[in-house]
Point group: C2
């Protein structure tokens, strides 16, 4: 899964979402970015029902990177401050053997700020249900996000790699 | 498959590719566009092995539209001249239940010019193997492309619809 980006966080399955949303951090300055669908489309990945990640990460992951990070993507990192990776996570359906994009489930980001987020490899993480800025669900960034990204330290914690 | 775009043409299966490339039209002015990965990402669809379309259209279809056509996409068409839909078609692999993007197989376009392409609904079509401008494979645009798009006349022959 070298090209996949795992900027979605563990524990966003339906069973945990309600409880997590209720205690969502209110001091997080991160907001869902706008205009990301004109950003560089990095790749798409579908986490299907057969995946052990389905409960937490199931869906179609469309990954984008802003212009700040695009050059670094091509060289495999490290990424400059201001880089944002954005995943728009959609449901999908299977129709006659084709996987077709469905409604938006949420938006996830990794935002690079080596000072502010020094304790998590220089990256801030968040996921918003339905893309709603009032519905962030990450309350423990280390356990829900960073731990899964640590194996990719040699790629500046980013799973995605450049795919022409 | 309402959100899917079928701008890829029939008959690009491996068995037919070699023969078709050998007789590719040389008078086609269409060229693969550049910068399309910063265009609006319309949707992604995967045509998997179980699909009857797999031989012709198998792969991960990442569909983009240029800025000329973006507003019309949101309203379901019709599209202004200069609109370009671009699909970058990639192989994919299935790893632990996840569908992961693989190498580029080719680039497909629909280009709107209501005068030049009046006989095919106002759209020009082409597909380039590996994205190579020297390897166009559409030689009979009506049979290979337009016939499959005719059922979508009420959407200006475009399968894709806007998906927030």
């Amino acid at each position: 899964m070298a090209r996949a980006i795992r900027l979605l966080c563990a524990g966003i399955g339906s069973a945990t979402v309600v409880a997590m949303a209720a205690v969502a951090a209110t001091d997080d300055e991160l907001k869902p970015p706008v205009g990301y669908r004109q950003w560089f489309h990095v790749n798409t990945m579908i986490v299907d029902k057969a995946s052990p990640l389905f409960e937490a990460l199931g869906g179609m992951h469309n990954v984008h990177v802003n212009s700040v990070g695009e050059a670094a993507l091509r060289t495999g990192g490290p990424y400059p401050n201001g880089t944002i990776f954005l995943t728009d996570l959609h449901d999908f359906s299977v129709q006659d053997g084709s996987y077709v994009e469905g409604p938006l489930k949420g938006l996830a980001v990794m935002v690079k700020d080596s000072t502010k987020y020094a304790s998590t490899g220089g990256w801030g993480f968040q996921f918003w249900l339905g893309g709603d800025p009032k519905k962030p669900i990450v309350t423990d960034v280390v356990k829900q996000c960073f731990e899964c990204h640590q194996p990719k330290k040699n790629q500046d914690y980013v799973y995605s790699t450049y795919n022409p």
